[in-house]
């Protein structure tokens, strides 16, 4: 019997069996990469809960879920309205194959996966969202915001394509003000100066723990596998921020312990690699997994499901309500290195900064098939990396396991190239 989306029970069962199996296998592979820190286990449990056990998000207090799609949705505002943001950008291969029927062939797989979850109604984390806030960023997300409205109430959030002019920040500020009553309608609570300040502090605390964690991540020898770090960052999407911050604090303590005991998970001459480009969302973590399985060290990532979402803190200049809103508007557009902005040269600067901080030896530029905006920037990135003599490789992937072997060969070759380069340098 088919529901209004034309999906019958058998299809759903098949979906559940297949998707849980894929998610479980990736979780297992990530755990087995190197010794998983005890404090990182709760993050993996959250991912398992969401994708394998298909349970709802465990919340510390009674808050409604608000689905968000890109990093431009201010989590602070959602928390201030008494709700909890859930980032729905997913990497599910099975959901992708369902979404494929509704979305044109050349669209990006991430959007298809989101659409797939919307249609199949098998992921409680998705289905229990009362509202979906979809920033109008790239073309795919823009059309998604329009089409997914049929399965879930969606608020498109206009993102100005330029950001240096004050007028552009002003546009985004107005969008945020427009968002407030819509969020309040869902939660029945009011956004006040006090609750907004609390929201900023809650997320700020998570960012503080994150900044502490980054200090350990910058260590010459890795204390924790990079793929596992990406899983931890992915778990942020499905966890209340205060809980995430609490667990992160424990993880930081364990990192400190590991550092003092000298328990490193990488060796000295393993190439340190940075991953950038299209979002790497769980369970699609094959690229980071391959890097580490091939003997590289995933030392840092510049992707929106990873570091980028939590790196830049809110800098409140003015204590008034409007002042806080302005700080939010400014923080969610100005430092954002998303390539949907017309002038995004700052992403190159940011990557250069990360190369310096994390002592990166090579950059893997991940492009999801159909992700035009990231593909556009590869050229510029290649030029910039050529100038500072950092090898860079573009890998294109899709949401299936057919291209794994091809990716494996390319990544392996890239890692060998870096090793060879280092040997030459020594000689």
């Amino acid at each position: 019997m088919a529901d209004q989306n034309g999906i019958n029970e058998r299809q759903r069962e098949l979906f559940i069996r297949k998707s849980t199996r894929v998610a479980a296998s990736y979780l297992k592979r990530a755990k087995e990469l190197s010794e998983l820190p005890d404090a990182a286990k709760p993050f993996f449990d959250v991912l398992e809960n969401t994708y394998v056990k298909l349970a709802d998000i465990q919340k510390t207090e009674d808050r409604k879920s608000i689905g968000t799609l890109c990093v431009m949705v201010p989590a602070e505002l959602v928390y201030a309205a008494g709700a909890m943001p859930v980032r729905l950008c997913s990497g599910s291969y099975t959901a992708y194959s369902i979404g494929d029927d509704y979305i044109p062939r050349d669209a990006c797989p991430l959007v298809k996966a989101v659409m797939g979850f919307g249609k199949i109604k098998a992921l409680p984390a998705f289905d229990n969202c009362s509202l979906l806030v979809a920033p109008v960023t790239c073309d795919c997300k823009k059309k998604l915001a329009g089409t997914i409205d049929s399965v879930k109430d969606t608020i498109p959030l206009h993102i100005p394509p330029l950001k240096k002019d004050d007028a552009d920040t002003e546009i985004f500020l107005k969008e945020l003000y427009r968002l407030i009553p819509l969020l309040e309608n869902v939660t029945g609570k009011q956004v006040t100066a006090k609750s907004l300040a609390e929201g900023i502090n809650m997320v700020g605390n998570a960012q503080y723990e994150m900044s502490e964690f980054l200090k350990y991540r910058r260590h010459d020898l890795s204390l924790m596998s990079g793929t596992q770090v990406m899983a931890v960052m992915n778990a942020y999407s499905y966890m209340p921020v205060n809980l995430w911050a609490k667990q992160m604090h424990r993880l930081n303590e364990e990192m400190k312990l590991r550092l003092s005991q000298g328990r490193f998970v990488s060796r000295k001459n393993q190439p340190r690699i940075l991953v950038t480009g299209s979002p790497i969302a769980f369970p699609n973590i094959k690229v980071p997994l391959l890097i580490e399985e091939m003997g590289g060290v995933l030392a840092a990532d510049e992707t929106c499901m990873g570091e980028r979402g939590l790196y830049d803190p809110v800098s409140v200049i003015d204590a008034s309500f409007d002042g806080m809103m302005r700080s939010l508007a400014s923080r969610y557009t100005k430092p954002c290195t998303c390539p949907v902005f017309v002038d995004n040269s700052q992403r190159i600067y940011r990557i250069k900064q990360m190369i310096k901080e994390h002592k990166i030896q090579g950059v893997i530029y991940h492009v999801l098939r159909g992700c035009l905006v990231y593909d556009y920037e590869y050229q510029l990135m290649e030029e910039a990396m050529g100038k500072i003599d950092i090898p860079i490789i573009r890998v294109e992937s899709d949401y299936n396991e057919e291209d794994v072997e091809q990716l494996r060969i390319r990544i392996e070759a890239f890692i060998e190239l870096i090793k060879l380069k280092e040997l030459k340098k020594e000689a």
Partner: protein
């Protein structure tokens, strides 16, 4: 496009209004003191005052502020004295002390005379005819070009305060050229002075003018004229001192009304704004701040300390310092009128806005005049301009403190600011040029910048000086309302600050940016009270200091990146941004 045209039209109108109204500034009176001389009464002095050695009559003003005392030594009887007062309709005389009141239109210039006595002053065995006078000037009318002179027949010898430290000497209704004048200082020290071809005594120490000195002149050796001269000097916390705050009260009251009006008008204008619903819910009022965004910054603490010290120095301590003679000729280019207004001490603010006076001082008219003074003026002013620059705006300017306090008040009330977007900033810039035009060139056109100066009222009044406020008083209200909604509103259009900023290249303090650590988050731009945009868009140059930068350190304080912004002194970093410090305010440990 339409909005831009309207904006340009408004700015042009404001500029034209500024220029035109500057010439009629004296007609727009915000606050004018009326010397109610009937309040003054005459009495015999009871307090002990260091009496100048050579005179037996002097004036002083009591603690009550109302009373004018004259002192007489024991052998001179009160009823012998005649007091002359300069009034708006000419001089008048009062005899026999307090029985006859002085008319209400007195200008606050008094001369007391005693009957002629015959005393042997030069100890040559022959008694000379001695005429004793005492002159006191109450509340000088600032920069009044006409000397306040009596030129009465009863007072043939007269000292008139001319300009700054210069005293003009009159004898028999004529200026006294090239004559020998003996001066006894307040401390009993005797000196000989020669009047120049303009009848001026030069080089009198300020303290003499303040505390009183006696000039002795003898035209022929048989007749001796002695005059004691003192310029007003009021004690702190007297009635007179508090009365000086009256214009300030008026300004603040008007500013309060203005702030409420702007707040209401803004709410009304945004009634149809979709965001208005949220704005109107914005809680306004005093309640404890909920945001733990405060991190202790030693640098900002020092800045506030300096600002308060600067305020104290330029206002309350102003008197102490110029009496001490040590610092009174060092020029610091901030708006610090207490030094300036009574024309007793030197501040470049006066000379820069009255350039003819500056050139007159060093020009062809008086080539030999006070070279030492000129050197000191130039050296100290240039030192401040070149080596310190606008850090004085951020650290010492009393007007800056006032504006910072207004901003703090707004934040405490949780009222949202008016944000100076780059578009609004473009409109504000032409106003700055008009101010500079008036500041530097107005005196050539026959005007007086002090009449339109919005800041004249603040520090002078706080220092206890009676200041009449003309058009500048209204501008002061504008500045207060402006700085309530826009942080450091005046600094954006300040002519003095701009002139100081021109020498940024040579400043010892410099603002530096490490472009490789910048993420362009714009927090610095957001925090900058001067709205310097290049600080966050700059990606190549290390030097991000612009003419507008006043080194307040707000951008460094709000920067979340390590070393992205730093301040150096002589190449040594004294303050830099730090991610650790920035993030620590979100740490749970700190809260608990």
């Amino acid at each position: 496009m339409k909005g831009r045209k309207i904006g340009t039209a408004i700015v042009c109108a404001v500029c034209v209004f500024l220029i035109v109204s500057a010439f009629f500034a004296k007609d727009f009176v915000l606050y004018d003191y009326h010397m109610n001389v009937s309040d003054y009464h005459y009495a015999k002095t009871e307090e002990e005052k260091p009496l100048s050695a050579d005179t037996s009559v002097w004036f002083s003003y009591g603690d009550a502020g109302k009373a004018v005392y004259y002192g007489v030594s024991d052998e001179i009887r009160e009823e012998n004295m005649t007091v002359y007062a300069l009034t708006q309709t000419g001089e008048m005389s009062v005899t026999n002390g307090n029985e006859n009141p002085i008319r209400q239109d007195s200008l606050g210039h008094f001369i007391a005379t005693l009957p002629m006595t015959e005393v042997d002053i030069d100890s040559d065995g022959e008694a000379e005819k001695v005429y004793d006078y005492a002159r006191a000037d109450l509340g000088l009318n600032a920069f009044n070009p006409a000397p306040q002179r009596f030129l009465a027949e009863e007072i043939p010898f007269e000292l008139v305060f001319a300009e700054r430290k210069y005293i003009m000497v009159y004898y028999g209704n004529e200026i006294l050229k090239d004559a020998e004048i003996f001066v006894t200082s307040y401390n009993g020290e005797r000196k000989k002075y020669q009047t120049d071809e303009h009848g001026w005594i030069q080089g009198l120490p300020n303290r003499d003018i303040r505390e009183g000195f006696t000039a002795v002149y003898s035209p022929d050796g048989e007749v001796v004229y002695r005059m004691h001269y003192a310029l007003e000097d009021y004690p702190y916390f007297s009635v007179h001192f508090w009365k000086a705050h009256l214009p300030l009260v008026v300004i603040f009251a008007l500013a309060g009304i203005g702030i409420v009006a702007v707040y209401r008008i803004r709410n009304r204008m945004e009634k149809h704004n979709p965001a208005y619903k949220v704005y109107s819910r914005e809680r306004v009022g005093i309640y404890p701040g909920t945001l733990h965004q405060k991190t202790t910054s030693k640098f900002l603490f020092v800045r506030w300390l300096c600002l308060f010290a600067g305020m104290f120095l330029w206002t309350y301590a102003g008197k102490l310092i110029h009496q001490g003679q040590a610092l009174n000729e060092i020029s610091i280019p901030v708006f610090s009128c207490p030094f300036n207004l009574d024309q007793v001490a030197e501040v470049p603010c006066y000379y820069l806005s009255h350039l003819p006076a500056l050139f007159g001082r060093f020009g062809a008219d008086f080539p030999e005049r006070n070279i030492a003074y000129g050197v000191l003026f130039i050296v100290t002013t240039l030192f401040c301009f070149i080596f310190l620059g606008r850090i004085l705006c951020g650290f010492l300017c009393p007007a800056g403190l006032l504006q910072d306090l207004m901003d703090k008040l707004r934040q405490a009330l949780h009222i949202r600011p008016i944000v100076v977007t780059d578009r609004l900033n473009r409109f504000l810039q032409p106003i700055k040029w008009v101010w500079i035009l008036l500041f530097l060139g107005f005196a050539f056109a026959g005007g007086d910048f002090c009449d339109i100066c919005p800041l004249k009222g603040f520090t002078t009044a706080q220092g206890g000086y009676w200041t009449n406020l003309y058009l500048g008083g209204f501008f002061a209200v504008v500045i207060l309302v402006g700085s309530f909604f826009i942080k450091r509103f005046w600094c954006i259009i300040c002519p003095m600050g701009y002139l100081m900023g021109l020498f940024k290249r040579f400043n010892l303090f410099k603002l530096r940016k490490d472009c490789t650590s910048c993420t362009e988050c714009g927090a610095c731009y957001h925090a900058c009270p001067m709205r310097i945009k290049s600080i966050y868009t700059e990606r190549d140059k290390e030097n991000v200091q612009t003419v507008d930068c006043m080194m307040c350190g707000e951008c460094i304080h709000k920067c979340p990146e390590d070393n992205a912004l730093s301040m150096t002194f002589c190449g040594k970093t004294i303050y830099k941004s730090s991610r650790k410090t920035f993030m620590s305010k979100f740490s749970k440990k700190k809260e608990g």
